[in-house]
Amino acid sequence: MTGTSDSMTEPAYMRTEAVDDHQVGSTKLFAWIWAWLLLLTALEVFLAYERVEVHIMITILLGLSLIKSALIMSYFMHLRFERLGLFLILVPAMVFCICMMLIMFYPDSIRLMDMRPH
């Protein structure tokens, strides 16, 4: 999060000079993020063939996808380099809403799954 007084002297939309690597990230950094995303995807495909109960599998896959989306949002979508205020107005409320959806639906679907005749 860059919240230095330096960047506050003029709003971003008035900035015309080139932004340095510190603010936009370097090619090497982006290539690393890309490599990690590919690695996590490969891990997901590998795990899909393991014989695990479906509700455990969905939790593992969702967890890995959450890591991937955090990487994409922080680096590709630049959120890590924005002010903290922007992150706070966008992400916590969104995560809260998604958690509310999961609280409503997730446990009940597992209950229904357990009710199946084995």
């Binding site: 995807t41 063939y49 966008l90 639906f105 997730y106 229904l112």
Partner: protein
């Protein structure tokens, strides 16, 4: 406007002022759209996950070839397009228009490739008798959720390719600025991000274990 006056307006992010988030309004607008679209996709994915877990005998028809190989390739293509997009934005911020346009075109090629591979995947399923209303394996919701989720995502990718094309042409002509490229990049990465959830939930949870 003098510097001291201006610093007074944007003193801290919490005191409001002209630019509390230090970004332009286009970018804030795109972020707000992304939040609302995230909730749309979340609702669809959560309801899909619900029926997926709660339905006994959910079909698991996806073989390594073609479905899993193709969808993995699509993931690779989309992730790579995100890399070229981020490089296009970085080049645009360094005022390297030529390089930025080249990366934007690469991104569009990857996006178009994604849609094409996805279309062949759909055609294969149509031939197997899968429609949004029925399929040969029983649970009719399988087709509905599959085409609903992947269809809405494919629509986003298609719109994204067109959007990038418009931005790319305008930026090349000098009509638009690096900020426009960055905002279109946000949309493109979001489309990539959504696929990171659709791919494991729709494809990998229905792999044929044999």
């Amino acid at each position: 406007m003098s510097d001291t006056e201006f610093e007074g307006i944007v003193a801290t992010p919490w005191s409001g002022g002209a630019s509390p988030f230090g970004i332009n309004s286009k970018k804030l607008g795109m972020w707000l759209f992304i939040v609302s679209d995230t909730l749309t996709f979340s609702a669809l994915l959560v309801s899909y996950a619900y029926v997926r877990l709660a339905t006994p005998d959910w079909p698991r028809p996806f073989e390594i070839w073609p479905a899993i190989a193709k969808s993995s390739l699509m993931t690779f293509v989309l992730l790579s397009s995100s890399l070229t997009m981020v490089l296009a934005v970085a080049a645009a911020h360094r005022h390297n228009v030529k390089k930025s346009v080249r990366y934007l075109i690469l991104t569009m090629i990857c996006g178009a490739a994604f849609v094409l591979i996805h279309a062949t995947e759909w055609v294969t399923l149509f031939h197997e008798g899968v429609t949004p209303w029925s399929n040969p394996w029983g649970v009719p919701l399988f087709g509905g959720t599959f085409f609903g989720l992947t269809g809405l995502h494919m629509l986003h990718v298609t719109i994204g390719v067109v959007y990038l094309g418009i931005i790319c042409a305008g930026y090349n002509k000098g009509k638009w600025t690096a900020d426009h490229v960055e905002v279109s990049g946000l949309y493109w990465h979001f489309v990539d991000l959504v696929w990171m959830f659709i791919f494991p939930l729709v494809y990998l949870l229905s792999v044929n274990p044999k």
